[in-house]
């Protein structure tokens, strides 16, 4: 059949008409008589459902504002692009460790005055939460959910290795001992099971120094990667490839399934213990509801051990108002509504996480579906709970740590060389960031 110009144009016209008549439509549920607020959040799945329910309730209980929830992947990058492009949403759900970079770039509106006028004073939060909402003396966010890292122990694996399930490794040495007892090798020498391994899941390669009394930034905000505590910590990390063999560890690691699946190494019993947050309880409920497990603080170096002040990473999810938001007061009205204790607790219960509030309602811990929530609360309230270092160059710091950790893990770097590499790179980056800021201030 010959295709003529007329038939081609006709076909294109018909397609266009079809698209107009039967193509996708804008969301019909958005009322035209209300101010619509766009809320970008990172959560999908059950976490997203819990927040959506709150959003729906907000939309039902008043008739002036309408919040439209949109789950956004890689939200910390996309939100920045939307702000730079001058078309940000009205409310954004970030991680608290994003705040320094956003705040210093002038990407957020401060919330001090709005919070004070709504009576949301800082004393409502547990102590560890307050610094996570602030940067350089100002408050930039409100917290929605939070979590602390702990050590999850698979009791079935411990028992099968002849370890008393009531045993709680409190120090790094005890963790190593447990590892020695639980680790299984095949006749060919490959690792079949481990008591503990840093790379499962390996999301916080930079945190080990804190368990040895180290830190990554000093009071002036300068990097302290080569701190003595960090040197001890990464010397200990390096002892694993030395003892077990780097190739053997890599091989074992590649056999572990992805985190959010039934093949998760902890659920499968391939590793007896993992460092994780309260969200792991959700995975256990879905994929291994009969798993016998216990949660204890992450072990620390003997010299640092204090039963009354456990050490653990604490971080949270926050909501912010981006610069350029069309209706900041309305945005804050929604945020303030979310801050009601009952609503924050609903969210915490659904996410299986801690509440960031100092005062929990009666029965909150009793009815919490995460049986380890009290341990996580104790960790979050500890004076030695630590957050992600508050520096604008954190993305670079973390990337440098991850890369150098890999080199350490495959036996190409010693602990001291690894830390020196990180220190040099981050000193340069910090210097550059300061010079850049100074130059902008001069302008």
């Amino acid at each position: 059949m010959e295709v003529t110009r007329r038939s081609a144009i006709g076909l294109m016209g018909a397609s266009a008409a079809g698209l107009v008549l039967f193509g996708p439509r804008a969301d019909d549920d958005v009322p035209t008589d209300r101010l619509v607020l766009n809320y970008w959040e990172k959560w999908t799945g059950f976490e997203g459902v819990a927040m959506r329910e709150l959003v729906d309730e907000f939309n039902r209980t008043q008739d002036r504002l309408f919040v439209r929830y949109l789950a956004v992947n890689s939200i910390n990058h996309k939100a920045m692009i939307s702000i730079a492009g001058g078309a940000p949403p009205d409310v954004i759900g970030l991680w608290s460790f994003n705040l320094p970079a956003y705040a210093e770039a002038g990407a957020l509106l401060p919330m001090d005055d709005l919070a004070a006028s709504a009576g949301l004073t800082p004393d409502r939060w547990i102590d560890s939460v307050r610094p996570l909402l602030r940067h350089e003396g100002r408050q930039w966010a409100m917290m929605t959910t939070c979590g602390s890292l702990a050590l999850y122990l698979n009791l079935d694996v411990l028992e099968s290795a002849g370890v008393d399930p009531a045993f709680e490794p409190r120090t790094i040495k005890e963790l190593d001992d447990l590892n020695d007892r639980v680790t299984l090798r095949s006749s060919r020498g490959s690792i079949q099971r481990m008591g503990f391994v840093h790379t499962e899941p390996g999301w916080w390669s930079w945190m080990w120094g804190f368990q040895f009394g180290g830190r990554l930034l000093n009071e002036s905000g300068d990097p302290t990667a080569t701190d003595a505590g960090n040197a001890d910590a990464y010397g200990w990390v390096r002892s694993y490839p030395d003892r077990f063999g780097a190739e053997k560890l890599l091989s074992f690691q590649s056999g572990n399934g992805f985190y959010g699946t039934a093949q998760n190494a902890f659920l499968q019993g391939r590793v007896a213990s993992v460092v994780q947050g309260p969200w792991l309880a959700n995975l256990i409920e879905v994929y291994a509801p009969n798993l016998r497990y216990r949660v204890v603080p992450v072990p620390v170096a003997e010299a640092v051990y204090d039963p009354d002040a456990p050490v653990g990473l604490f971080d949270g999810d926050v909501v912010v108002i981006p610069r350029g938001a069309a209706h900041p007061e309305a945005s804050f009205e929604f945020i303030a509504w979310l801050q009601n204790r009952a609503r924050l607790e609903r969210l915490a219960l659904a996410h299986r996480k801690n509440t960031p509030l100092r005062q929990a309602s009666a029965g909150f811990f009793e009815r919490h579906p995460n049986r380890s929530i009290r341990v996580h609360r104790r960790l979050a309230s500890s004076p030695r709970a630590f957050g992600v270092p508050r520096t604008r160059v954190w993305p670079r710091y973390e990337a440098e740590f991850d890369t150098s950790f890999e080199s350490l893990w495959i036996g190409r770097l010693s602990a001291d060389d690894m830390l020196a590499r990180v220190q040099t790179a981050i000193e340069q980056e910090t210097e550059f960031a300061r010079a850049r800021r100074g130059a902008r201030a001069d302008v």
Binding site: H77, M80, Q253, S254, G255, R396, T403, E406, I410, E429
Partner: protein, 290 residues
Amino acid sequence: MTSSRSSLWLRMLWVAPWMVGLALFYAVPLAMSLFFSLTDATMIEPPRFIGLDNYAALARDRVFWRCVANTAIYAAVAIPLAMILSLWLAALLSTRHALAKPVLLLVFAPTVVPLVAASMIWLWIFNSDHGLLNMLFTAAGATGPNWLTTHGWAMSALIIMSLWSVGQSVVIYLAALRDVPRPLIESASLEGLGRFRRFVHVVLPTIAPAILFNAIIQTITAWQVFAAPYIMTGGGPDRSTYFYSHYVYDQAFVFQHMGYAATLGWVQCLLLAVCIGAVYLCWRRLGDLR
């Protein structure tokens, strides 16, 4: 005259949407990125003009040189391998064998699989414990390596994976091979040229334009490789698969050095131009074989 003028306007009208798109989405961003490369630009703060400082900073940036080296090695190995494999497959498939078409379908099919999905498949193929590849090693009585987590092997794994999408080149070669005049090959046979010499002295020079086209496309693809290593190795271990485009992405969107990322983009463009120039020179040499 009037009719030709109105015809010109009509043609202009037809190409206008494309021209507007080209200006808005290519020319303007190109000009802006050139400007940004001369500034200290984050994503949000107003750009601050710093002249050629970003270009000078490249010389001291160890990670930049590492990425250039990684990408150059990848391109230097992956491109010739893909060229040889696709040409060989095309030569095989250009016969009238009954299986030629089904095999062509199999060779071409991977190119329509989204790269992210393909990367997930290859993650499992390269899995050192349960992966298909290492199972073959085990069946042969050998021990396969930790493909994606060992220095050296990770790069090899990504190069092997890059051969997954040779289907497009095969189709282009196939079309070119079918256009080689039969009398030319027959007269070469009559002059006593063997099969190999016929291929080198008659077929290759005749399909030289297709070779040039594929070589250029593969050079561009190799220098822009991003998704597969990003998903499969994250640039590791120890930055051994940290490629140029991944570094540009990190500088722009993770570290918020938009000005520096723009500089990297322009240098990538220059490097690519040099490589394409080298490809063109090699292609000219191929013409001399005639």
